[in-house]
């Protein structure tokens, strides 16, 4: 089970010309791998995330995916602010055909939301929101988690619990923070000016990124 990029091109129209995000990327991510993808602001990380998530098609080339990949965690992904945390958890459970009760129980024990779980999402702090969406996605149980940017996965109690749980599955972490990638990933790739380069050595990837 893996995610494979075969000569993937991606560009989109701008006011003048086209913005190139990828020009012929190749790569292979196996199940269980923890890989960081580093890119500066505006390098096209979010577009790449959407392609990995399977919600945006490449302009040319193919993305072959034979494992289950989560939705990009860190985007709001249809969370309704007027619904409570619990209701949103139930919605996702229904959508992915999971047991609703078990999903809610997991979120309850993992997200550290206490009584806020029964409050509308609009009353949440941003940290609470990201803990909720991370917990819901963990409850669905994917082969690989697609995590976008700075989340509440720092060195907190929740962050450590997340790192421990993610040990059992794969991770694609798209970030501009080398420190976060070093802490959670074993491999990395750098996205720069349309080139996505995979490095087996984490230090080499970080050094390349820092030199950009």
């Amino acid at each position: 089970m893996s995610l494979e990029l075969i000569n993937v091109h991606k560009s989109y129209p701008m006011i003048s010309g086209r913005k190139v995000v990828l020009s012929g990327a190749n790569g292979h991510i196996s199940r269980g791998e923890k890989i960081g993808i580093l890119g500066r602001n505006g390098s096209g990380k979010s577009t790449l995330v959407r392609m990995f998530a399977g919600v945006e098609a490449p302009t040319k080339g193919r993305i072959k995916c034979s494992m289950s990949i989560s939705w990009p965690i860190g985007v709001s992904a249809g969370v309704k602010p007027t619904l409570t945390g619990e209701e949103n958890a139930r919605f996702i459970a229904r959508l992915y055909g999971r047991n609703e009760k078990r999903t809610v129980e997991f979120v309850e024990s993992f997200a550290e939301l206490e009584e806020y779980l029964r409050m509308p999402i609009m009353t949440y702090s941003s940290g609470m929101r990201s803990r909720l969406s991370l917990s819901i996605s963990l409850a669905v149980d994917f082969d690989c988690y697609l995590v976008d940017e700075a989340l509440a996965v720092g060195d907190t109690r929740f962050g450590r619990a997340f790192a421990e749980r993610i040990e059992r599955s794969g991770l694609i972490l798209v970030s501009h923070s080398p420190a976060l990638v070093r802490r959670l990933c074993t491999r990395a790739a750098v996205l720069d000016q349309g080139n996505l380069t995979f490095y087996d050595d984490l230090d080499e990837a970080l050094a390349t990124y820092n030199a950009l």
């Binding site: 979010s46 959407r50 998530a53 399977g54 919600v55 945006e56 098609a57 939705w71 990009p72 985007v75 709001s76 992904a77 249809g78 969370v79 309704k80 007027t82 619904l83 209701e87 139930r90 919605f91 996702i92 229904r94 959508l95 992915y96 055909g97």
Partner: protein
Amino acid sequence: MSLREEFAIIRRGARMQQRVIGALMIRELGGRFGRYYLGYFWLFIEPLLLGAAIGLFHYWRDRPTAFGPFEFFAIGYILFFVFRGILNRASMAIPGNQALLYHRHVTLPDIFFARHIIESVACAGVLIVMLLALYVADGSVPESPIKVAAAMALMALLSQGLAFLWASMSHAVDVAARFLQAITFLVLPIGGMFFLVEWLPIWVQEIVLWIPTVHIFELLRDGQFGSRFRAVYDLPYVAGWIIVTHLLGLSALRITRQRIGLE
């Protein structure tokens, strides 16, 4: 691939779509009406009150005819409400729900199906309540309940096809949403709710029979009062409209899907 395997894939897909639409329906209900006050009840109350108000207005004002004015206008209004309810919300369906597309098995048509099912079921419920109330009040029953139900279903399908197109157009051109809003108002006087085709001069009949909703209203009235007037409708013509709007609408949604920039 053998035929059986293909069937298995289609069945799995259908089950998944069923699950997605079910989840979207529950979400839509919770989000639209909240969990407090009258809650889901609003769904039924709105068409019920409006339909009853219009029916009563005509009941007191109109000279008596072969048709009960209340039956004529209240039931007719509910059919119009299906059209209005589905189309007025169409332009907001994509902007309000596009973040859901991050979940890869949610598709744009699913989002519409979920809303349309809610809208149609609510209006069908109100229709049944009205018909029961009429039966209790003066013992009147529709001559052909099947024709009444068919009119309801055809109206929902026609509105659905138009909603696909409408939403795609609103996504492509912002002002289209406002322009198209005006069309539902236009349909109110000329769409068949206020008249029977046989009341009109021949030359006007020829014009209004181009409008598909006129045929659907005639079918409704045929189901309600069949033997009391000469109904004029052409069901293949309505079916043609439904098929063409669905084909064009679903294609337009496909193009729209590629153009949606998820943030």
